[in-house]
Structure formats: C-alpha cells, structure tokens
C-alpha cells in the first residue's frame, strides 16, 4: 500500500493521473455530443456544426476575447500548480546506481510496457513507427465523406470505434499500467502489495512451436512460426474481403485494393498487441515466430 501512495504523489506521476482523468472526461463529452447529434439527425435535423457557415460571427472581438480568457485561466492554473508543487529533482546522476525499476518518461511507458511482450525493436521502434505512419494515413484511408466537422458515431462506426479503442484503451491503459502497477524488476504489483526488490519470479514461458513439440530454434520451428504470423495477416485480410465482396459492398469498391490492404494491415497489427498480451498472460507464450535475427 505504501508504494502506491508513494507513486501517486511522486513528482511527475500526478501528471499521469491528470492525463487519465482529462482524457476520459473529454471522451465522455465527445460521445455525448455524438449521441446528441445522431438523435438530431434521426429526427431529420442537422447538427449546427454540420451546416456550412451560415451563422457567422466576427473574430474580433468574439473569438479573440475567448482566447485571451482561456490564456489567462491556463496561466493562472499553471502558476497555482507551480506554487503548490515543486518540479522533480532527484540526486545527482550516478551511472553506478541504476534505479529499480528504471522508467522512461510517462508518455513512453506504453511502449516500455510492450517490452514485456515483444522484442525491443517491435515495442520501441516498429510499433511507434506504425503508430505515426498509421496516424498520418488516416485521412487518406478514411474516405467516408460523412461526419466531417461534427461529432457522430452512427455515420462512422468503424473509424470511431477503432481510434477510440487504440487511444483510450491501448495507449492510455498501457501508460497507466506502466506507471502504477509496475514495480521493482518491472514485475506486476497491485496497489496493496509491497515492492520486494529481490524477488525472483521463475517465469517459465514457451514459444508457440514448443506447444506443438517442435523446437522453436530449429528451421522447421521457424517456418511453422512464420507461417502462423503470415496466416494471421493473410486470413485477417482475405476473409473480410471475401465477405464484403460477396455482399457487393460499396465501401470496398470505394476503398480500392491498396487502401483496403493498408487499413487491414494497420488494423490487424493493432489487434495483434492485445492478442499477444493475452497469450502471454494466460498461456505463458513468449514468441510465436523465432528466427536467428528477430523474434515475434
């Protein structure tokens, strides 16, 4: 118990509490607005944001006034915060004393948490890259013209649910876990547990092919693992494609093949994260695909 109280009031970590609360507060606001707009549209009305520029007001003074007010409030809030709480400063840097656990800045803790489940090149390099590229790709792969400029769920169910899942669940929850539930040796500690610096947990993990009785480091093990990963992506892409094609989906026609492949690759990469976490936590599965150069 003492640890969680310690963490909670540990310098930077109050920021993460603020982050979690603020993100979920605004998510609730967004969803409430979306539901309100969806209801309006069902009645045949249009949300005011959806109508293009009929009711215009002048920037000066109406917008500028608000901007100044907000700037004053933010400054005042920061001043109060700065008076009440000191910025963290620990002991002089000492390369000989490694803190345990040693944590990255809080916004990278989601990636650090992923290190438990993936090789560092996936958790620290590939996933961040995919996140950035995936974010940049959004406006070019989301070709749904509806829901531009106003909150709505009904008109863009897939887009809203995927993005909200990725941000609200994967990104924020992983950060919260990294900050509040990871203790010495990056082991999981519940808030009421005491950290024990010298605990050694004998965790026996198996590679996927070992479940089938194949040595994962052998050539056949590598090929089996590789086939499973390839099959995961292939089936994930082909099955929805076939289903949509059979239904003569207009969305598929509009998307085109390249967009479709990009969307489904990004989507299944994202879903791969919770799947791998689940496999690790429940079945103690370490790697699915082992090669001499990299592991997945």
């Amino acid at each position: 118990m003492s640890n969680i109280i310690h963490i909670l009031f540990l310098k930077d970590n109050e920021v993460i509490a603020l982050f979690g609360i603020a993100v979920f507060f605004f998510a609730v606001v967004a969803f409430r607005e979306a539901i309100k707009n969806d209801r309006l549209q069902k009645q045949g009305k249009w949300p005011p944001e959806g109508q293009s520029g009929k009711d215009k007001v002048l920037t000066w003074p109406f917008l500028v006034r608000k901007e100044f007010l907000v700037a004053i409030f933010v400054t005042a809030g920061l001043l109060v915060w700065g008076v009440l709480r000191n910025a963290p400063l620990e002991e002089f840097a000492d390369p000989n004393i490694t803190p345990n656990p040693s944590k990255a800045p809080w916004y990278f803790l989601g990636l650090q948490e992923m290190l438990v489940y993936f090789d560092p090149w996936i958790a620290g390099v590939l996933f961040p890259l995919l996140i950035i590229v995936g974010l940049m790709a959004i406006p070019y792969i989301d070709i749904n013209p509806k829901g531009s400029g106003y909150y709505t769920i009904r008109e863009r169910k897939f887009a809203v649910s995927v993005f909200s899942f990725g941000f609200l669940f994967l990104w924020v929850i992983l950060i919260v876990v990294g900050v509040f539930f990871r203790g010495t040796g990056w082991l999981w500690y519940w808030p009421w547990q005491e950290w024990v610096p010298h605990t050694i947990v004998a965790e026996t993990n198996y590679d996927f092919t070992q479940f089938l009785g194949i040595d994962s480091r052998s050539v056949s093990g590598s090929i089996t693992g590789g086939s499973v990963v390839t099959l995961y992506y292939l089936l994930g892409m082909v099955i929805p494609y076939v289903v949509m094609k059979a239904r003569n989906s207009k969305n598929l026609q509009k998307l085109g093949l390249i967009r479709y492949i990009t969307v489904s690759f990004l989507f299944w990469s994202m879903i791969g994260l919770p799947i791998k976490m689940f496999l690790r936590l429940i079945f103690h599965m370490k790697y699915i695909w082992v090669t001499p150069w990299f592991n997945i």
Partner: protein, 257 residues
C-alpha cells in the same frame, strides 16, 4: 463636463500622428473597424475574419489546440528565462537547477511551471488530436493539416523527452537511458536490432550513438539534448505551427464546408 473633457483627450490622442502610425483603424464598434482589427494586425491575421458561431462553443473544440499553441509560447518564454541560468555541462547542470531552486529570483516557480507546462502540452496535444478525429475534422480538404499535426505531436514528445535530461539527475539520466536503448534496437540502424549486426552496426556507429554523441549518456548527450531542446526542435515546431494555423485559416475554421 468631465465626459466632454474625456472625449476631447481621446480625440486628441487618437488623431495624433504617433497613434495613427501604430493603429491603422478607428477604435469604434462598426463592422469595418472590427474587420480591420483582424486584417490589419500581424498577430491576429492568422485568424479568419469571421467564423461560424458554433466554432466558438467550448464544448465543440474544447479549446485544446489553442491551449497547446499558448503553452508553446509560454514554454518558450519561461525556457528562455531558464537558459540565462543554465550551463549544459555535467559539472554544472545539476547545480544550476539547484541555484534556480534556491537563489534565483522566481527561479523555482519558473522551473516548476516550465515542467508542468511541458507535461500539460503533451496532454493537450493528445486531446486536441482526439477531438479533431472525433469531429472528422481531418477530412477533405484538411487531410494535409492532419499530417502536419501528427508531425507536431512527434515534435512535442521529442521536446519533452529532450528536456528530461537537462536536470542531470537520476530521474532524467535513467529515463533517457531507457529511451535511447530502444533506439539501439532499431532494425538495420541499431546495433541490437534485427539485421543491425549484419550491416556492421556496433555501439559506436549506430543510430543510438548518433543520438547520444557517444556510446553512453554522458557530456555529449547532454549538449545534444540541450541544443535539440532549446533550438533545433523549437525551430521546427514554430515553422510547423505557422503552417498548421495558416492552413486552418485557409481550409476554414471548424465545421463542415
């Protein structure tokens, strides 16, 4: 009687050559003056002259983009103040922070708000992005501005990240150690990443080495973090913010088109 006097003074001041040379408009409540207030002012003219009424509503934009921009200005100002008292060398950095804390006038509170403001900027950037997504504001013709926004998100994270090291305390140095060790795992470019070894990457020539200016977090890493944090990244951010805001104005401010 007094009112008359006030009017007289006002007329005298506003008709002077000095006043007219600064403000190119009358300060009255006509539509023309209000339009000129935005068009004729360098700082305000990043705004459109008018905007839809709904875009003013706090519940629509949450004001998160504006707050982020304001925080960037705020952090630049407080950062410059801190720079007056800070040496980017490992013998002095930590003690300069101590000085800021205990002997520099307002040093403590300015360092505090610089740090909290930085954290807040990371938070508001993310929430701003979530809002833009939820209102579908990245859709045509605003696709490219979303791209610039993603670039600004990355730069904001890097700004905050490079600032971590400057205190040269245990927290900063080890956070940077963890962070840059991940860079060492970059495929092809890192000595611990897949195919890195085959391409001749070692701890002395890979991407992590380039970031740190060495094979471990030492004096070169501090200098690099300092230059990135105080000069290089803010320059890029300022440029991208300029383009970002300009495109907001050109593409129409909030709502459907």
């Amino acid at each position: 009687m007094d009112k008359e006097k006030d009017e007289k003074i006002k007329r005298y001041v506003t008709s002077s050559q000095i006043w007219k040379s600064i403000f190119r408009r009358k300060h009255d409540d006509t539509k023309r003056s209000r339009v000129l207030a935005v068009v004729g002012n360098f700082f305000l003219h990043l705004h459109p002259v008018s905007l839809s009424r709904h875009a003013l509503a706090l519940k629509y934009t949450w004001c998160m983009g504006g707050i982020t921009f304001f925080l960037f200005l705020f952090l630049t100002l407080t950062g410059v103040y801190l720079m007056f008292y800070y040496h980017p060398s490992i013998g002095e950095a930590y003690w300069d922070i101590k000085d800021l804390h205990y002997s520099v006038p307002f040093g403590k509170i300015l360092r505090n708000i610089h740090r909290w403001g930085g954290h807040l900027m990371v938070i508001t950037v993310m929430i701003h992005m979530y809002r833009v997504f939820m209102t579908g504001s990245y859709k045509a013709p605003r696709e490219f501005n979303w791209l610039i926004g993603v670039g600004l998100l990355v730069l904001t994270l890097l700004l905050s990240f490079t600032g971590y090291l400057l205190t040269w305390d245990q927290l900063g140095v080890w956070a940077i150690t963890v962070g840059t060790n991940m860079a060492g795992a970059t495929p092809l470019l890192g000595h611990e990443g897949p195919f890195g070894e085959q391409l001749g990457m070692t701890a002395h020539n890979d991407v992590r080495f380039a970031l740190l200016g060495g094979s471990s977090v030492e004096k070169n890493a501090l200098l690099r973090a300092y230059v990135w944090h105080c000069i290089a990244i803010p320059l890029f951010v300022a440029l991208l913010i300029g383009v970002h805001l300009w495109r907001v104005r050109k593409d129409g401010f909030s709502g459907s088109l």
